[in-house]
Symmetry: C2
Subunit: 404 residues, 2 copies
């Protein structure tokens, strides 16, 4: 008689954004006349940039002719895209990453969920708290996380690194030594980040204790301050301890296009075994590449026209971030984030939980945000708003919040 | 100190098609003047059908305007595609499958590799031998397969079901009871299939012993005989024991477009737990949907124009299959397959191994095929050729083989 993976059954409730989606649908169904503004899920609203649209049309045409048709992609992804990334994201910034250390994928969510597979089953993970739920949940599914304590909302075999206003929203080196450390800067959900000097401390620590850092740089395009690193490979020694996850979702609006990449330097080893080889094996066995059309779209992100258009797109969202942050400040909220990231993190009013505030905001202002507690126990008492709406909706949402 | 997933290290050598790729590259580099014809990997060569190209252009345009832009897709995939599949692939054939039992993905390879995750770690799998390598390899990676015997090329905890000319290339019910049974019909690599009555025996068996059948129907579009089932849900009782994997790669040429689907009926349960819920949880947590543009391309597969164009495309490849089969027969080979599948399975000459014949064919005829032993120990002595080349190349390859 077949049996299921019991680890799946340990997961409490459904995935955060599914829960939000259901709550919003229920509210809308009960109040069909209300105009709900969604500043919750990190989905973008601006259309794809013209340079990307043009590249995609061209690629679609290629697929329609036998001479230019493309079937299965190369295992690691097309060389044209990997080279563009190696040059623009790394080498031009003085970082030693080669094109064959980059694996193209259909998105950073998949990669951040799948990367744990190449590590031992008894690996101990460390995560920032609050954190993007995928890191912990996928380790739960793999049986790495012990038992769940519903009261503290924590797993017994996970090292939580609180990131609250008391720590300036940055993690401190853990007392217990982890095997795998998930870091995401600029951070989702807090919108905060750390300096290059601070990240260097993490790289030094990981090399010292023999841990791997899984560095999620999905929001690097939003960095505005000069001492904030755009990639972990700006730090010395990162090639022997760090994997970097890259996304096209937020810098180029690819949430519905699906493209990402994982960088694994060939110097990152366990004994003689390169993690690069293990990930290559996973790619070759369980994955069949991102669509040709999408990889061409990714290439256009690095064209001169693409770069200029996307700079404007990021600026558009960051103007929203400024609007939200200033508006909330004016309304008397304590806020952080929004300077190097499209996320604004606010403290909910005293006496309310994060979910109380979610319901309150949905009902009183018809605005959807994300409860901080959905990202981990230290997120309780906080709330995330995103800058990915339209400017008009953002202004309208802030006006409603002010009038609440 | 971090440790790797040791199961990955148990895998012997690299993935079959990577090995072939490397051998062919080396030969081509050493013989730059030779015109190699590839009838090895199951990649298609015909361009996308006009109805699909048109749908993709339209979808690209939508992505370029804020009013019609699409961000994150719904967890299970867009309703327009799931409904088209439910109607065309199931309901019109009298099978009770609903749109919300279909999960859209980026391809059957990913799904066939990932599906094992929702089962217990100590599940025992049964596979046809020879078989698509992904089924076994992904279970190796998950630690389900015991130890590898290099001499027999088998894993200790796997039930192999030989499919050779002695069994008419069909598996027989195993003596030992499996938890999970992988079946693929029409079969890759043998090109053979089983009748609806034979498949009904498997469904009855699975229901009787409490096993789950993972049914890979990637090649159903190539079925030409009337008693061969197009889906396992044609069999009574399949809703309580079968998961079906569907691909767009071979029926619509989507190898470089990437689209697939997994069907999990809500009646398929372990105790109170629906496998549907577990897969939904996996989708929600580790995956972010196939691109909007690609899902629209999938929808066009089911349009009237799309259907007509793809019928011609399949006929084109099946004409190649006929050419290969007849040519090989004329050349004195024992061949099977090629009637309900785009694969021709031939016995290699006495005294040669499958890899010997691979090298022989590459060197003497500059034709690339796939060694049967790459698909499992019972594939030794056999060789796969695919009908996915162009007609011109197919004719030329057969001419060269005849002249060898």
């Amino acid at each position: 008689m077949f049996k299921v993976n019991e680890n799946y059954l340990k997961l409490p409730g459904s995935y955060l954004f599914s829960t939000i989606g259901k709550k919003v649908s229920a509210y809308q169904a009960a109040n069909p006349d209300k105009q709900i503004i969604r500043l919750g899920i990190g989905d973008v609203t601006q259309p794809l940039a013209p340079a990307i649209i043009e590249a995609m049309h061209k690629a679609v045409d290629e697929m329609g002719h036998a001479e230019t048709f493309h079937g299965y992609a190369p295992d690691l992804g097309y060389e044209f895209l990997r080279s563009a990334m190696a040059k623009n994201d790394y080498q031009d910034k003085g970082c030693d990453i080669q094109a064959d250390e980059i694996f193209i994928s259909d998105g950073a969510k998949c990669d951040s969920g799948n990367i744990q597979e190449i590590f031992a089953a008894d690996s101990k993970i460390a995560v920032c708290d609050p954190v993007y739920p995928v890191y912990v949940d996928t380790n739960v599914m793999a049986g790495r996380t012990g038992t769940y304590d519903a009261k503290t909302e924590t797993w017994s075999n996970v090292i939580y690194m609180p990131c609250t206003k008391e720590t300036n929203f940055a993690p401190v080196l853990p007392e217990e030594t982890p095997d795998i450390i998930y870091l995401c800067f600029p951070n989702n959900p807090t919108g905060s980040t750390i300096t290059k000097a601070q990240l260097q401390e993490w790289v030094d620590y990981a090399n010292r204790v023999g841990a791997v850092i899984i560095y999620d740089s999905a929001y690097e395009a939003y960095i505005s301050e000069s001492d904030v690193p755009h990639t972990i490979y700006e730090c010395e020694g990162a090639r022997t301890c760090a994997i970097e996850l890259r996304s096209f979702s937020k810098n180029a609006g690819f949430t519905g296009v699906r493209l990402g990449a994982t960088v694994i330097p060939k110097d990152l080893k366990s004994g003689d075994v390169m993690l690069h080889s293990l990930w290559a094996r996973r790619h070759g066995t369980k994955y069949n590449g991102a669509p040709y059309i999408v990889q061409r779209a990714g290439e256009a992100v690095y064209s001169e026209a693409g770069k200029a258009q996307l700079k404007d797109q990021v600026a558009y969202y960051m103007n929203n971030a400024k609007t939200i942050k200033q508006g909330l400040k004016d309304a008397g909220y304590n806020v952080s984030g929004g300077v190097n990231a499209p996320y604004i993190w606010l403290e909910v009013p005293k006496g309310m939980t994060s979910w109380d505030f979610f319901d309150y905001l949905l009902e009183k202002a018809n605005v959807v945000g994300t409860p901080g507690s959905g990202f981990g126990p230290s997120g309780e008492g906080y709330f995330r708003l995103t800058a990915f709406g339209t400017y008009e909706n953002t202004v309208a949402a802030i006006k409603r919040i002010k009038e609440m």
